[in-house]
Symmetry: C2
Subunit: 123 residues, 2 copies
């Protein structure tokens, strides 16, 4: 993931509807949702949603696949991983010592079982 790709991804997620769509599709992994279903659930006109889905797709955050008359969209976990990695590696490269607590923090967020609403303190 280079800077241009990261900027595309940041731009795509910097919009309430699109951020919510991305999270919606994440919840529906690995089945995905059709474009119309996404538009309906978000109460957004289908053509507006089509534009948002295109932007998310261009950013590599989601992926489209035609299934009969529908086009099913799915979140691209690798893209999210790449974006999170971009943020983290950014400091790892120049300042590895700053990275360790950050990684530790992220690891804490994902315990073996349910994470509940427990937030990490300060870090």
């Amino acid at each position: 993931m280079d800077s241009d790709q990261a900027i595309l991804a940041f731009s795509a997620l910097a919009q309430p509807t699109r951020l919510q769509v991305f999270r919606l599709l994440m919840e529906h992994e690995p089945d995905g949702l059709s474009a119309g279903e996404v538009a309906r659930r978000m109460s957004v006109p289908h053509n507006t949603m089509s534009t948002h889905l295109a932007i998310l797709t261009r950013a590599g955050l989601i992926d489209a696949e035609r299934q009969s008359r529908s086009i099913v969209y799915r979140a691209q976990l690798e893209a999210m991983r790449g974006l999170a990695g971009f943020l983290v590696k950014d400091c790892c490269g120049g300042r590895p010592e700053l990275c360790a607590p950050l990684i530790a923090d992220l690891t804490l967020c994902c315990p073996p079982q349910k994470p509940s609403s427990k937030e990490v303190a300060h870090g």
Copy 2:
């Protein structure tokens, strides 16, 4: 970190100059750089840079502190951690099983010593 805060951060980083400024300040942790020094290094007029720095500050990604006549800006590692965490937790909450490989991938990005230019495969 809630959605609104994440959108602020994404918006702030979705601009080439600001993304580069954030990375620049990350490289200069923990000393930071003055507003003028940042503007000079980026070859951007001071008032344009002032606007960008204000946006990054409002997003919580950087922090300002006056030192005599200068105002020194520093990267807020916690904000970056929060943003990366927001992305990761997003899938952890609904799909913990998707989170493990992601965390593993991030951990790989930051080996005990120098990371060199080795990229993780597949992801």
